[in-house]
Symmetry: C2
Subunit: 169 residues, 2 copies
Amino acid sequence: MAPLIQWKPLASLATPPDGLLLSPERQIPTVGGAVFHAIKQTSQGFTGFGEAYFSLVDAGSVRDWKRHTRMTLNLVVPIGRIAFLLAKQDGERWSDFHYAVLGPASYSRLTVSPRWFMTFVGLGPAQSILMNVADLAYDPEEAERLPAGVGPQVPGIEQLMVGEGTVAI
Amino acid sequence: MAPLIQWKPLASLATPPDGLLLSPERQIPTVGGAVFHAIKQTSQGFTGFGEAYFSLVDAGSVRDWKRHTRMTLNLVVPIGRIAFLLAKQDGERWSDFHYAVLGPASYSRLTVSPRWFMTFVGLGPAQSILMNVADLAYDPEEAERLPAGVGPQVPGIEQLMVGEGTVAI
């Protein structure tokens, strides 16, 4: 039987674990549509600019677990709602299970340092959009991606939608 | 009577005017949602990283004309469709009328150097999203904004929707 995993919401922690950071960002009401801050050169968690790109994330889609060896990610979700799951691997042992839900309703930037494994799940209701401001340009040699279905079991969308509560599976 | 303005589509020019650049960017099909490149440190038109932010743009909304004195903008539109209008002002005289329509269907990055006046119009059909990767953090002292209704007359949405044709008003 798979071990029980307690996913801890990052937003609930007074002190985030080393290498993860959740930073509130401003949304500024503007005539014709709001302005959403994403990241500044002076932001906590900014480690340099290599590339910015978007990922469209279909509701219900789950990405494979992936770990970067050198890249720091800075993630914001201006449209939709995405759950990010983070964990560490040491040999066969997985530990440090955390998650964060990003979207305009709880608008924050998630910084993910190298060595953290991450996956993410589109919570919908429709397509979500994720922007990553990374300190390196994309390099397939720099990331380790696990095959689909390998890695810690991802909670179901119903569990992730609870949001602020601890998700146990 | 206001003079006739011929807005020239940037995409049709073999050589763009000094300080404007339209760069095609890649969209990469991915299971669960496409990845859209935005800008890399090595991209043509990249002049440094100061801040990244989003503007949501309601269909039909028109922003006031604005000119930056030091900031270079790099603009991409991953959702929706936005028309950008660009012009120069020398004393009372306006010149160099150009425009570009950005969106996932004609996916490109627009670089706007300082001294160009710009406005933009949401073409819909619903809310569009614009990301700006700017080489300076936002500074209200660094931009000149004209009051609503001042500056070159903005073509109607029906005219802008023509897209690749010259818009004369």
